[in-house]
C-alpha cells in the first residue's frame, strides 16, 4: 500500500483577517457570510492536506498538545461533536465536552454568564452549537479565545459547508461553474444557508428545490434560483444536496405527510435520472430514509463501484475540515497574542 507522501506542515496563513464588523475581536469561524473566496480556498487546501495525511499524525503535527478545546453543545449532536472531538484529539488537544443537560444553563444561568465563566478557565478554542440563530456570535463576543460555530439555529453551519465544498472539489476538481441543487427544508436549514454563501462565492450555480412552504421569502436575492419541481430543478445538475426534513415539520404544518413529501420531493432512482449521469448525491445527515431519500440511493456509494452517493465521503471530509479549522484558528490566536504582547 502506497502511503501518500507526508508533506511538511505548511506555513500558516499569510492572508490578513479583513476588518470585522462583529464585536468579536479574537479570530473565529462564525459563518461563511463575510468570508472571502481566498479565505475559503485556504481552509479547503488545509483540509485537503489533512485528508491526505496518514494516521496517527506525527508529534510535530500535534500542534494543540497541552492546549484545551471545549465542545459546548446547547443542542443535541452526535456526528458533529464526535467529529470535532476526534479532530482536536488528533491534534493532541485536551478536549472537554459540555452538553447542555450537564451544564449550569439548566440551573438558570444565562448564555453570557456561561461564556464569562468558561472564559475564566482560559480555554484555547471553543466549539459551540446553539439552537438559536445568533447565539454563538453573542457568546463569542464575551470570550477571549477563538470560537468555532458548530451550528446556530437556522443561521449558519460553516464547517459543514466547508466539508461539503471539499467533498465536491475532491470529486469534481473545481467548484466554479457547477450546477448544484439543494433540495428540501431550506427554510429551517443552516446547512443550506452556509452552502449558499460558500458555493455562490466560489462561482457555482445554486438551485433550491422544495415545496413553496419550505422556501423562505427573499432567498432569491441570495443569488439562487428557486424550483418547486424536482424534474425541472434537477435537469443538468452536477451535485444534489438533500436536506433533512424534521418529523415535526411534516405533519400538516409545512408538508402534509411523509408519503406526500417522498412522492414529490424524495430522491429516488427516477428523480435522480433527471440530473447528469455523474451527478453526486450528498446529505449532511442524519438521513430520514424514505422521506427525503430512498435507501437505494443513499447506500449506492461511490466507493462501491461507481454509485453516486458520497455521503460517507462527507463524513471523512468532516474530520479533515475540522482539523484544518482548529489549526488555522489556533495559529491566528497565537499570532494575535504575540502581537498584543
Amino acid at each position: 500500500m502506497v502511503k501518500p507522501q507526508t508533506k511538511p506542515p505548511q506555513a500558516h496563513p499569510t492572508w490578513q483577517e479583513p476588518p470585522s464588523h462583529s464585536p468579536h475581536t479574537p479570530p473565529g469561524l462564525l459563518g461563511i457570510e463575510g468570508m472571502a473566496a481566498a479565505q475559503i480556498t485556504h481552509y479547503l487546501d488545509r483540509a485537503e492536506y489533512y485528508l491526505d495525511q496518514s494516521l496517527p499524525l506525527t508529534s510535530d503535527q500535534k500542534i494543540l498538545a497541552g492546549h484545551t478545546v471545549i465542545n459546548l453543545f446547547f443542542e443535541n449532536s452526535t456526528r458533529t461533536r464526535a467529529s470535532f472531538e476526534i479532530a482536536a484529539k488528533r491534534l493532541g488537544a485536551d478536549v472537554i465536552n459540555m452538553a447542555v443537560e450537564h451544564s449550569s444553563i439548566k440551573k438558570g444561568e444565562t448564555l453570557i454568564d456561561t461564556a464569562v465563566t468558561l472564559n475564566a478557565m482560559r480555554p484555547d478554542l471553543l466549539v459551540v452549537r446553539h439552537h438559536e440563530s445568533g447565539a454563538v456570535a453573542l457568546l463569542a463576543s464575551k470570550v477571549s479565545c477563538a470560537v468555532i460555530n458548530a451550528g446556530d439555529g437556522s443561521h449558519e453551519h460553516p464547517t459543514q459547508a466547508l466539508l461539503d465544498a471539499l467533498t465536491i472539489r475532491r470529486h469534481k476538481k473545481c467548484l466554479h461553474g457547477l450546477n448544484i441543487a439543494i433540495c428540501g427544508d431550506v427554510r429551517h436549514s443552516r446547512v443550506a444557508r452556509s452552502n449558499i454563501h460558500l458555493l455562490t462565492k466560489m462561482g457555482a450555480h445554486i438551485r433550491l428545490i422544495a415545496p413553496p412552504t419550505l422556501i423562505p421569502r427573499g432567498i432569491e436575492q441570495m443569488g439562487v434560483t428557486v424550483y418547486h419541481d424536482m424534474q425541472d430543478g434537477l435537469g443538468d445538475c452536477d451535485i444534489i444536496m438533500m436536506l433533512r426534513l424534521q418529523n415535526e415539520r411534516m405533519n400538516g404544518a409545512f408538508v402534509p405527510s411523509p408519503r406526500e413529501y417522498f412522492h414529490f420531493y424524495g430522491l429516488d432512482r427516477q428523480k435522480l435520472s433527471y440530473a447528469k449521469q455523474d451527478a453526486l448525491v450528498m446529505h449532511p445527515g442524519p438521513m430520514n430514509r424514505g422521506v427525503e431519500i430512498d435507501s437505494e440511493i443513499a447506500d449506492d456509494t461511490s466507493s462501491n463501484q461507481g454509485g453516486q452517493s458520497v455521503i460517507q465521503n462527507q463524513v471523512a471530509a468532516g474530520v479533515a475540515t475540522r482539523l484544518a479549522c482548529l489549526e488555522i484558528l489556533f495559529h491566528q490566536t497565537s499570532d494575535a497574542r504575540e502581537r498584543t504582547k
Binding site: 418547486h228 400538516g252 408538508v255
Partner: protein
C-alpha cells in the same frame, strides 16, 4: 389479451347510433360568422349536427337523413352549465342528497359539470375517495379497466345509472378533518383528480394555515377556495349568529351574523393571496364591502376570483320574516343595499361567476326553531333561470349572463376550454340586440349543450325539484326563461315534458 367490447372502441356506451340534428336554433350560428354582430332572421337559422358525442357540423341545409331531428323553434342554445359549488351529501348524508339525485337535478337545471364540497362523511381528504367520487356516475364500461381476476374488495359507490350523467369534480379538504389545523395531502389529492381545496362550508380561522395552503399549492398551481366569514364573529353552531345582523334580527330576537365578518375575512384572504401568489377563489360574496375589497384587489393584480349565489341577488333578509328557516343560509341573506352591491359587482365583472351553492338539507333539520335549524338552500335547478333574470333585468347582456355559469367557471377551474368555448363571448359589452346572436359554439367540441326557452314564464315549485331535499326559499317566485333540453355528450339527458 382480450378484445375490448365493441361498444368501447368508438362510441361511449349508451350513445345512440342516431345522430342529432338541431334545427332553427338561436345562438348556434355558423362558426365562421362568429364575432360578427348581426341578427339572423328567423327563417335563416342554422342547423347543428351532433355525431359521436361531438358537434359535427353547423350551417344551413345539413344533409343528415338518418339523424333524429329536433325542431328548436323559439329555443336558444348555450353550452352546458358548470356549477362551481354544490354539496353532494354522499357519502354520509344520503337521506338529503345522493350523487345520483344531484345528477338528475343538475341535468334538469342545464348543468353538465359540477363541483362538490368535501363536507361528507367521511370527509373527502383521501386520494382514493376523490377517485371514487369522480367515477361514481361514470358508466362502468367507461372506467379504467381493472383486472377481472380479483374481485374488488370494496364495491364501488355507484348504482347502475343510465348514462349520461354530469361530470363531478370533487373539491378535497384543505385541512385534515376540515379542522383548520393541518394541511391535507394536497399534492396526492391533486393527482387523484381533486379540482381544488377548501374547508367550505367552514371558514379557515388561522391566517397562518391559509397562508401555508396558498403557498404549498403553488407547486402544482392548485386552487384554494375559501368561505368568506370570519369564524369568531360569525361562528357556525351554538351561540353563532343565525341571520344578517340588523333591524330585522333585532326585532325577531335572533342573533346576527355581521357584514363585518365577511369584509374582514375577505380582506384577510386577499392579502394572503397577494403575498403567497397562490390561486384563490372566494365565495359566495354577499356584501358591498367585501365586493369592493375584491374589486380593489383585482386592480392591484391579485390572483383572485369570486362568486355569488342566486339567493343573494334575488332575495334580501326580508325573506327570513316569519322565521322561515328555508331562508337560513351562511353567509346570511343581506340588506337591500348589499343586494344592489351584488348586482353592481355582477354588472362590472368584479364577481366572476354565479354558483348555485346547492346545500340540500333534510326537512327535519329545517322544521325547527330558527336558531336550531340547519344552514343552506338548494338551488341547482334555478341557477340558469337566475342568470337569465340578470339578463331580463338588464343587469348584464345575454352572453355575459351565460358566461357567469359557463366560460367563467371553466376559467376559474381551469377546465379545458375546448369543450366550452364561447369564443369571444365574454369579451366586451355588445349592444343588447346584437349580443343575442353573438355567442358561438364550435364544430369539434363535445356536445354538452342546453336548449332553453328565453322568454318562458314559470313558477318555482320546490316540490317538483329532482333534488332529494326541497329547502328552497324561492317557492312561488315567477321566473322567465328555463331549460328545455340538456344534451350531455351528444345524448339528450334531460327533456322537459310538461309545458
Amino acid at each position: 389479451m382480450t378484445d375490448k367490447p365493441a361498444s368501447m372502441s368508438h362510441h361511449p356506451p349508451g350513445t345512440p347510433g342516431r345522430a342529432l340534428l338541431l334545427q332553427n336554433i338561436r345562438g348556434g350560428e355558423d362558426a365562421n360568422q362568429r364575432g360578427k354582430a348581426h341578427e339572423i332572421s328567423p327563417d335563416n337559422l342554422p342547423d347543428i349536427l351532433i355525431e359521436n358525442g361531438k358537434i359535427a357540423a353547423m350551417g344551413k341545409n345539413i344533409a343528415a337523413s338518418d339523424a333524429k331531428k329536433i325542431d328548436g323553434k323559439n329555443l336558444w342554445l348555450a353550452p352546458g352549465l358548470i356549477d362551481l359549488r354544490t354539496q353532494a351529501r354522499e357519502p354520509g348524508f344520503e337521506h338529503e342528497e345522493t350523487l345520483a339525485s344531484l345528477a338528475a337535478a343538475a341535468l334538469a337545471g342545464g348543468v353538465t359539470q359540477l363541483c362538490c364540497l368535501p363536507n361528507t362523511q367521511p370527509i373527502i381528504e383521501d386520494p382514493s375517495l376523490v377517485a371514487m367520487i369522480r367515477q361514481a356516475l361514470v358508466h362502468p364500461q367507461e372506467r379504467p379497466q381493472v383486472s377481472t381476476q380479483i374481485r374488488p374488495l370494496v364495491r364501488p359507490l355507484v348504482r347502475p345509472l343510465a348514462p349520461p350523467a354530469p361530470i363531478i369534480h370533487p373539491f378535497a379538504a384543505m385541512t385534515k378533518g376540515l379542522a383548520g389545523q393541518e394541511l391535507t395531502e394536497m399534492g396526492l389529492l391533486h393527482q387523484a383528480g381533486a379540482i381544488g381545496f377548501t374547508d367550505a362550508p367552514y371558514a379557515v380561522a388561522s391566517p397562518l394555515v391559509l397562508r401555508r395552503a396558498l403557498s404549498y399549492t403553488r407547486f402544482f398551481d392548485g386552487l384554494v377556495m375559501t368561505h368568506p366569514e370570519e369564524p369568531t364573529l360569525a361562528p357556525i353552531g351554538i351561540n353563532g349568529g343565525v341571520m344578517n345582523e340588523g333591524l330585522i334580527a333585532t326585532r325577531l330576537g335572533l342573533s346576527g351574523r355581521p357584514v363585518l365578518a365577511e369584509i374582514i375575512q375577505v380582506e384577510r384572504d386577499l392579502r394572503l393571496a397577494e403575498v403567497t401568489q397562490g390561486r384563490l377563489h372566494i365565495g359566495p360574496l354577499t356584501t358591498a364591502g367585501s365586493i369592493e375589497a375584491v374589486r380593489q384587489a383585482k386592480r392591484r393584480g391579485v390572483n383572485v376570483s369570486c362568486d355569488t349565489a342566486p339567493h343573494y341577488f334575488l332575495l334580501t333578509e326580508n325573506a327570513v320574516e316569519g322565521y322561515r328557516t328555508f331562508a337560513k343560509v351562511a353567509p346570511p341573506l343581506r340588506s337591500e343595499s348589499d343586494r344592489q352591491a351584488v348586482l353592481a359587482g355582477l354588472a362590472d365583472g368584479t364577481i366572476d361567476a354565479v354558483t348555485s351553492d346547492h346545500a340540500p338539507r333534510a326537512a327535519d333539520s329545517k322544521r325547527l326553531p330558527f336558531a336550531q335549524a340547519a344552514f343552506g338552500v338548494v338551488g341547482i335547478e334555478i341557477l340558469f333561470a337566475s342568470v337569465l333574470w340578470l339578463y331580463h333585468q338588464n343587469i348584464v347582456t345575454l352572453p355575459k349572463a351565460l358566461a357567469l355559469v359557463t366560460t367563467q367557471p371553466a376559467k376559474i377551474l381551469r377546465l379545458p376550454l375546448g369543450d366550452f368555448s364561447l369564443g369571444d363571448l365574454s369579451q366586451g359589452d355588445l349592444p343588447q340586440g346584437a349580443a343575442k346572436n353573438n355567442y358561438g359554439i364550435q364544430v369539434g367540441q363535445v356536445a354538452d349543450l342546453v336548449l332553453f326557452d328565453l322568454d318562458q314564464k314559470w313558477t318555482v315549485d320546490p316540490d317538483k325539484f329532482r333534488s332529494k331535499s326541497k329547502n328552497s326559499p324561492m317557492g312561488g317566485m315567477i321566473m322567465t326563461g328555463r331549460v328545455e333540453k340538456t344534451i350531455k355528450g351528444g345524448i339528450i339527458a334531460f327533456n322537459r315534458e310538461e309545458k
